[in-house]
């Protein structure tokens, strides 16, 4: 409840258009980190293909609206479906592959998607990009409320999901697939479930991206974006609900706050990322819990 009020109050505290824009980006990143966390944190599958799902959501929704004149929300639903299907396709690999093999396979998935966006010029306009995309709602403020609202709904639903028996099932797949199988858990089905939801939510986040920026180019879905999303989950604390949210907020605002350092800001960002991994093994959430435990004892 407090969280919802805080989200609602944020745009009044931050009034400049630029920072309101950052808020929208932040809400999208929260969605992306939340969805990745389901696969990475709860199901234990290394997925470096998140940027592909984000991109599919963006392109499918935009093309349906611009070329075929669909209603945005209908197009968004189709985009979520398309991204979800792609997630199921990646899950087919996840059933057979483990650990680093899956990481590279999903990376390959992201590269292929990126290359298709570049090369399939008839549909995607390739590197020239699609221009003049209007957001589904008027104004940055309204867009923020829509995306942040969706993020809150997704958070609540996912929080319920991971605390339900389904969450336990996913965790059992993460901890030990063979033991899980001996207890009657069909790991393949649950991996497909996690990948499908993860991809669908990433696709949903993607629907709002082109309207916000106004243009759509394949470079926005370069594989580097997958790394950034993964970093958000890890820095915040994977396998916890609030961790990826914090990670997304920190890693969205950190580069912006470092703008004062000019050119060297991304250097500091890289350094900060490395240091967090080195000194906060469980991410920021666990570090906070450890500090709190020491303080109270």
């Amino acid at each position: 409840m407090i969280a919802i009020l805080a989200v609602a109050a944020l745009p009044w505290l931050i009034t400049t258009p630029y920072w309101r824009g950052i808020l929208v980006v932040c809400a999208m990143n929260v969605l992306l980190a939340l969805s990745l966390n389901l696969v990475l944190g709860y199901t234990g599958q290394l997925n470096l293909g998140q940027s592909a799902f984000f991109g599919i959501g963006a392109y499918v929704s935009t093309i349906l609206v611009k070329t075929y004149g669909w209603n945005f929300w209908l197009a968004a639903a189709a985009a979520v479906g398309a991204a979800g299907l792609l997630g199921l396709a990646l899950a087919a690999f996840a059933v057979r592959l483990r650990g680093h093999y899956l990481a590279i396979a999903s990376l390959g998935f992201a590269v292929i998607t990126y290359q298709v966006l570049i090369n399939w010029e008839k549909v995607t306009e390739g590197v020239r990009g699609i221009y003049g995309i209007v957001p589904p709602v008027r104004g940055t403020l309204a867009l923020f409320y829509v995306v942040a609202g969706i993020a809150v709904v997704v958070y609540v639903l996912m929080d319920n999901l991971v605390r339900s028996p389904v969450g336990d099932t996913l965790r059992s797949v993460r901890e030990d697939e063979i033991s899980a199988a001996s207890l009657g858990v069909n790991a393949a089905v649950w991996k497909a479930f996690a990948f499908g939801i993860c991809a669908g939510i990433a696709g949903l986040a993607g629907c709002f991206y082109p309207g916000f920026v106004g243009t759509l180019v394949p470079d926005a879905f370069n594989i580097v974006e997958s790394f950034t999303m993964m970093a958000m989950v890890i820095v915040g604390g994977m396998g916890t609900m609030i961790g990826p949210v914090i990670g997304a907020i920190v890693l969205t605002f950190l580069p912006e706050l470092l703008r004062g350092f000019g050119e060297s800001r991304l250097m500091i960002y890289g350094l900060a990322l490395t240091l967090v991994v080195l000194f906060m093994p469980g991410g920021m959430v666990q570090a906070w819990l450890a500090v709190k435990a020491r303080w109270s004892s």
Partner: protein
């Protein structure tokens, strides 16, 4: 020789040359994976650092300060890039890999992403975003045999790659350290019990891998558009090669590297250069479905 035969031979040669470049990049990745079970996402930036080190050696230090001829300058730059790569490996091992040795596989992976961002932007700050023109004096010399053309540079690339592979092989086979390294790759704990210091050897592996990346950068410099992000374009393909060859399998990596080079050369010839990555990664996914262990099956008892 008919037109088609000449074309096929020419493209195969181009492919082998390209493949050798990829092998030089991929070898380091596969070595680190074989010994540590780690993916180094900063490998791309080691290649870039090597390329810049070579560029400044060849165009500034060697020719202007030392007064060497151009060809000598380029050869010296290969050695400098090797050294710079090795030093970088030493530093990254001390800062990231050594402290994160215990614990899950994810953390070092993310830490190397952080190192990668750091290195890329440090170079961006140092060298700026405008591409550097790195000409190798050997690229201007063309050799012609019948209707087949190739540059002296491609001969040099193939020779340096072959020499590196031979040196690596000899080191692994015939020296005590090489034997110890293979022991650590097989079973770190047991090797430790036999009086081998695994940490030292893991450090050595990373230094060798990074030195190879440095040389790869020096060889790639004249091919790439030399910017702080140059390495990243090649390394994604190197990841694919490492998988196609079988993770941590050196012979598989060499075979896969050359195969990908040849496939790429023919893709450019028949389908267009825009589709290279697409073809390579579809091949990768197909490979993972059909034969997840790679071209040469990973033998559990020996994977270096």
């Amino acid at each position: 020789m008919s037109d088609l035969a000449a074309l096929v031979v020419q493209q195969t040669l181009n492919g082998v040359y390209l493949g050798c470049l990829y092998v030089m990049v991929a070898l380091g990745l596969t070595l680190i994976y074989g010994v540590l079970n780690q993916i180094n996402f900063a490998h791309a930036d080691f290649v870039t650092v090597g390329a810049f080190a070579a560029f400044f050696t060849a165009t500034r230090l060697a020719t202007r300060v030392l007064g060497l001829p151009e060809a000598g300058g380029y050869l010296l730059s290969l050695v400098v890039a090797l050294g710079v790569g090795a030093l970088l490996g030493l530093a990254v091992n001390a800062a990231v890999f050594a402290p994160l040795r215990r614990g899950d596989e994810l953390r070092p992976l993310i830490a190397t992403i952080g190192v990668s961002v750091l290195l890329e932007n440090f170079q961006l700050w140092l060298f700026g975003p405008i591409p550097y023109q790195f000409d190798s004096p050997f690229s201007r010399e063309t050799i012609r045999i019948g209707r087949i053309f190739f540059t002296l540079q491609s001969v040099l690339v193939v020779a340096v790659s072959a020499a590196s592979i031979a040196a690596l092989y000899a080191f692994m086979r015939f020296t005590f350290l090489g034997k110890a390294l293979r022991a650590v790759a097989q079973d770190r704990e047991t090797a430790g019990l036999m009086g081998i210091n695994p940490n030292l050897l893991i450090g050595l592996t990373i230094v060798i891998a990074s030195a190879l990346a440095g040389v790869a950068g020096a060889l790639l410099g004249p091919v790439l558009v030399l910017t702080p992000f140059a390495g990243a374009t090649v390394v994604v393909k190197a990841f694919a090669i490492v998988i196609i060859g079988g993770f941590g399998n050196v012979q598989g990596t060499i075979l896969a590297g050359i195969l990908v080079g040849v496939i790429e050369a023919f893709t450019v010839q028949y389908l267009g250069s825009g589709l290279i990555d697409l073809v390579v990664f579809v091949l990768l996914l197909a490979m993972l479905v059909v034969r997840p262990t790679g071209l040469i099956a990973e033998r559990k008892e020996e994977n270096v």
